[in-house]
């Protein structure tokens, strides 16, 4: 085990080092781009807990992301002066509350029924946010000022592009290490047992429903954290991010990168965003035509995703 892990950590260290240096060498546009990849990567990782590890394909991850955004907005608009940590706490409360709600109902169902239920839940919250104009700003959403980076007792400094990137990188890296630890814990093993054979996991005596509820909660919290980061980066919360399109993209990230690997979905997010960036220069908003074709082809021919494909090639 030890011997196999070493190259993994070397690779991890190299990628991390590259990401730390990135804002210093990249121009503004690409710096922002890398920060966004990290945020979407965190969202993709959070859904991988469900899709890849527990075998439950969530088609409603936008609801956690969106509630994270609106939670952060609530903190930044109601509390003076705007506080970064409070925004994170509010975002996590928002996403966590919705995750508890979704988890309670959706985990009673399996396979496609779970997918459809998560989709329907995200639509319910989309409709509520979209039509409740007095509180959520309706179609226009909410805008707010970026909170400064503050440590208790050390004062506050405003974010610059580079420091925001490092902050996001730190949050995403810590989340990754936490999630990796969780997936390798006995709890994570039970989740994988549920994915492989649910009746058997139940027969052994695990309370499958309880494990699934915790998995959805965990996934929702990290999805909400991604939403908070996105809200802080972009200084707005909009109903578009609660809509199905975002959930669909999360599923694309997972499939493209490789489900059940944590790193894969991040790679998938990077691949998707780069594809979108590259193709939309020629096809403008029709980039989803070639991307959709690539996606469908990957579902058929490369179900392990990019990472699984690469790994198999390396092992040959």
């Amino acid at each position: 085990m030890r011997r196999l892990d070493t190259p993994y950590w070397i690779g991890f260290g190299l990628v991390l080092a590259a990401l730390v240096v990135a804002p210093l060498v990249l121009p503004e546009f690409w710096r922002r781009f890398v920060t966004e990849i990290l945020i979407w990567g965190l969202l993709a990782m959070s859904s991988d807990i469900l899709v890849g590890y527990t075998g439950m394909v969530s088609f409603g991850h936008s609801v956690f992301f969106g509630l994270g955004m609106y939670g952060a907005a609530a903190a930044l608009l109601t509390v003076r002066p705007p506080n970064l940590w409070l925004a994170i706490v509010y975002g996590l409360i928002g996403a966590g509350a919705v995750a508890a709600f979704v988890a309670y109902f959706a985990t009673r169902l399996r396979d496609i029924y779970f997918s459809i239920t998560t989709l329907v839940f995200s639509q319910i919250f989309f409709v509520i946010i979209f039509t409740w104009t007095e509180v959520t700003g309706g179609e226009n959403g909410l805008t707010f000022r970026q909170p400064p980076f503050a440590l208790p007792g050390l004062g506050a400094i405003a974010f610059t592009g580079a420091t925001l990137h490092w902050f996001v990188l730190a949050v995403v890296t810590i989340s990754f290490l936490l999630l990796r630890r969780v997936t390798r814990s006995p709890f994570g093993m039970v989740l994988q047992a549920i994915r492989e054979n649910e009746p058997r996991a139940r027969a052994i005596g695990y309370s499958v429903e309880r494990y699934k509820i915790v998995a959805v909660m965990l996934s929702g919290l990290f999805g909400g954290l991604a939403g908070v980061l996105y809200a802080i980066q972009n200084k707005f919360a909009a109903p578009d991010f609660v809509f199905f399109v975002v959930s669909g993209e999360v599923v694309i990230f997972n499939v493209m990168g490789g489900m059940g690997t944590l790193v894969g979905p991040v790679a998938g997010a990077a691949f998707f965003l780069l594809l979108r960036e590259g193709i939309s220069r020629y096809f403008t908003e029709y980039y989803l035509i070639p991307v959709g074709i690539i996606f469908t082809a990957m579902v058929i021919f490369m179900p392990q995703g990019l990472l699984g494909f690469a790994r198999r090639r390396l092992n040959q």
Partner: protein
């Protein structure tokens, strides 16, 4: 509660008409699911494509009925091509992969429609412009005709499944794929034909819906979502259940629209779905399984 009786009756008629169109969409979806375990995420987009092809055909031939036929046939052929290229390789894999593959299709189809026909709504002129008095409203006969036509199409499908030789093949494949194959039924062909039939029904609903709500490239997702709800509430793969559930859901939404805005009324059907899944996960309109 000051809702006059006339309004309730008008909404009942509206709900029934919408319910029959939805039933046409949902019965295609449930047929496809029942036979091939495919959750067709692109079903609503087939409705949308059918609507656009119908709008073009109606405009160029001048006849609504000819346009309806052309749209149904075109989308049936297109659907079988889709099935052969993307779904046939997935036979035998987890049903979840089919939802992913059809989701990819849906992305492509929706953006293709945007590219081909632009973002604005197309209106299809109705073949029957006569109206009748429904309380204080002039209610178009066309809507009633739509409901009747949808019922006729579904009825024909039912008869075909019950009586026709190929219908029996289809039902045999639903019951036991391996055994049907052993009996000499060309199972892959049955799959393709079923997908084509489902696609044709989706296209027909798109054309029928055209004069009522217009055809836009974003209508697909809405239809997919509603059809999913209906199919789950009615019991997956159960044709009769889907039809009853379509009417039930549409009536529910129509009545809810009396009290809240139509955008919020859809929540009622979402709640109906969740309650169904909690208390009767096999569907509302099927006998309790043993």
């Amino acid at each position: 509660m000051g809702i006059p009786l006339e309004q309730i009756l008008i909404q009942t008629v509206n709900g029934l008409v919408n319910g029959m169109i939805l039933a046409l969409v949902a019965s295609g979806l449930t047929l496809i699911f029942g036979i091939m375990d495919v959750v067709n995420f692109a079903h609503g987009d087939l409705v949308m494509l059918g609507g656009f092809v119908g709008a073009m055909a109606v405009a160029s031939t001048g006849s609504f009925w000819l346009g309806l036929l052309i749209a149904a046939v075109t989308i049936a052929v297109f659907g079988s091509v889709l099935q052969v290229t993307t779904l046939r390789p997935l036979i035998g894999r987890d049903p979840l992969t089919t939802i992913l593959a059809t989701f990819g299709m849906s992305l492509v189809l929706q953006k293709y429609a945007l590219w081909q026909w632009g973002p604005s709504a197309r209106q299809i002129t109705e073949p029957v412009t006569a109206e009748f008095n429904l309380f204080y409203l002039q209610y178009p006969w066309y809507r009633i005709l739509t409901a009747v036509l949808a019922a006729v199409i579904i009825g024909t499908l039912y008869l075909f499944l019950q009586r026709g030789k190929y219908g029996i093949w289809i039902r045999a494949t639903t019951q036991d794929r391996v055994m049907a194959s052993a009996m000499g039924i060309p199972v892959p062909l049955v799959h393709t034909v079923v997908f084509a039939i489902g696609a044709a029904m989706a296209a027909a609903s798109g054309v029928l819906f055209g004069p009522i709500g217009g055809v836009t490239q974003t209508m697909g997702f809405n239809f997919t979502l509603r059809a999913f709800i209906v199919v789950v509430v009615g019991g997956m793969g159960n044709l009769g259940g889907s039809i009853l559930a379509s009417i039930f859901i549409s009536l529910l939404e129509a009545y809810a629209a009396l009290v809240v805005s139509p955008a919020q009324a859809v929540i009622v059907s979402f709640v109906a779905l969740i309650l169904t899944l909690l208390f009767r996960p096999t569907g509302l309109f099927v006998p309790t399984p043993k």
